[in-house]
């Protein structure tokens, strides 16, 4: 395990800084608002800061600018109709959200999906992870002044989006899963093209990381900046790469495997110091591990049905049956108008998404509409540490910290 941290905590650093300045240079504190439309706040986060010179003495994140009331909306529509709304949570990895939501409802219905469906979901979730980390990495590098990395990252992400487009029909808002399956099977030759993407992606990833990992300017901006100790990370409920950057090896894909993750071999990278640089390293390594998982999934891609064929009251029948048989036609009408029939009960399911742990808590009173749906969004919980980690840092370091936390406001405000 990693060695313990030796960095002084932020509050002590702030106090030391304040004492060091001679009396004649003491100035009034200034309050400054960063966001909600600031390029480094990645969306609509507003940071209400109190500054002593250039050093932060207080930082209050103000969230809610993108609040759409998704949890309430969910109560007014059937389980399947809510799938497009899950796209718009973490909109950088919609496929992973779709999967987490579908599995949550399936757990409530005690429904097992076939192996092929599980494999498709794992495959798409890992591709979504790569695309989300590419964006996170590119934006982080851009925030600390490295332009090219973003451009190269977007180029790779474009290739992934072409694959998503072919599979789901849309590049961004995929709405790919349905309760009990997915909307369509993988197209002919798509797996081979995904494999080919992995082959060409790895060298480009290495090239991209090479621009940053041993770069003195990048390291000066990130090493020792925004240190989150192991205890703090756990206390504030951080998850995902931010928690692993602080040295806690929590990864639900390993610890509580779902959708067949237990069959695949991969490492869980953890950081040693918990600074911005560690969070960067973790994301870089996770992309390599995702490629490893994708290759394993494709290597043993199971045959068989790609949706739960026995769940007649949950997954709609195939289209040609609907067109030719009265029974299936009625079944189709029932599932659409009444919703997939889910028994009464409660479920909490969480999945390891690119940003952290995305949880869905669903209360059902039976029928096709959830009685209550609660979303535990990783970005919201990850941002809770901002008041602690920003204090005592320079204002330019706040940009590094925000970039390294890699949040999405669509999910935070939901």
């Amino acid at each position: 395990m990693a060695s313990e941290f030796s960095y002084p905590d932020s509050a002590a650093k702030a106090a030391a800084g304040a004492q060091a300045a001679p009396a004649e240079f003491q100035t009034e504190k200034m309050s400054l608002s960063m966001g909600p439309s600031h390029p480094s706040t990645h969306g609509v986060l507003r940071l209400q800061m109190e500054l002593d010179g250039e050093i932060l003495t207080k930082a209050d994140p103000v969230v809610g600018y993108l609040h759409r009331g998704d949890e309430k909306i969910a109560e007014n529509m059937t389980y399947n109709q809510f799938v497009p709304y899950t796209d718009r949570l973490d909109y950088l990895a919609p496929l992973a959200n779709n999967m987490a939501y579908a599995i949550a409802v399936e757990r409530l219905a005690k429904l097992e999906v076939p192996a092929r469906c599980q494999a498709i979901r794992v495959l798409t979730a890992e591709m979504a992870r790569i695309s989300a980390h590419l964006m996170g990495l590119g934006a982080f590098a851009l925030d600390v002044g490295a332009w090219s990395v973003l451009l190269y990252a977007l180029e790779e992400r474009e290739k992934l989006y072409k694959l998503f487009e072919e599979l789901t029909g849309a590049r961004f808002t995929t709405s790919y899963t349905r309760i009990g399956g997915v909307t369509r099977d993988v197209p002919e030759g798509w797996l081979a093209r995904t494999n080919a993407f992995c082959d060409q992606f790895l060298p480009i990833l290495e090239e991209m990381l090479k621009l940053l990992t041993r770069n003195k300017i990048f390291m000066d901006r990130t090493v020792g900046v925004g240190v989150i100790s192991k205890a703090d990370a756990l206390a504030y409920g951080l998850t995902g790469p931010n928690l692993r950057g602080s040295g806690v090896g929590l990864d639900l894909r390993k610890d509580k495997p779902y959708s067949g993750y237990e069959q695949y071999e991969f490492d869980v990278p953890v950081g040693t110091k918990g600074d911005c640089y560690d969070r960067y390293l973790v994301r870089g390594e996770e992309m390599r591990q995702s490629v490893r998982i994708i290759r394993q999934v494709i290597g043993k891609f199971p045959d068989g049905p790609w949706y739960a064929t026995d769940a007649k009251r949950i997954f709609a029948p195939p289209k040609d049956k609907v067109m030719s048989s009265m029974e299936e036609l009625i079944q189709n009408f029932m599932i659409v108008t009444e919703g997939p029939q889910i028994p009464a009960g409660e479920v909490y399911f969480e999945a390891e998404n690119p940003k952290g742990i995305l949880g869905f808590f669903i209360v059902s009173k039976g029928g096709g509409v959830p009685y209550r749906l609660k979303i535990r969004s990783p970005s919201f919980c990850n941002l809770s540490i901002l008041p602690k980690v920003c204090v005592g840092n320079l204002i330019s370091d706040v940009v590094s910290i925000l970039g390294s936390l890699d949040f999405v406001m669509g999910e935070c405000d939901r």
Binding site: Y85, K162, A170, L250, D255, D278, D320, F333
Partner: protein, 180 residues
Amino acid sequence: MATGTPLERKPLTFAERTYVPQILSGLKTTWQHLVRPKETLEYPEQRPAIPPGYRGVPTLVKDPHGREKCVSCQLCEFVCPPKAIRITPGEIAPDAPTGHVEKAPKEFEIDMLRCIYCGMCQEVCPEEAIFLQNQFSMTGYTREEMVNNKARLYELGGTLPDDHFKWDKKLEAEKHGNAH
């Protein structure tokens, strides 16, 4: 909890601290990218290739005999998550060639300012009458222009092949007295 694999962090060597190797390798990378094939397109002169199954603008289609397929069951109107579809059902005159179908939409409107291109209307349609096709770009100057009415939807949709001819089969069965 999994233990995790700690990531290695080596301190910078003297050469790396001078920043010279990093500049050189960075320049090498950018020069390599300069001669790589371009990923960008000069839109709108060049258009991206649209894969089959793409979810573009929703349209209504006719069968190969030019008959309208929609029977205004209003299932798409019901399922549409943003409620972008509005249908007014109408009757088909009993003496018309398709009189046995009984219903067809009098009005059919899709508000493209609300549509989220999720494709659920196509997925649930029991008549294969509504399809999201290749067109991905819709523009207009007014809100009214962005509402596609029935005529516009059929114009956008055109004709698609039909594997079933469901209503012809039904008429045939009725003639032989074994409908349903």
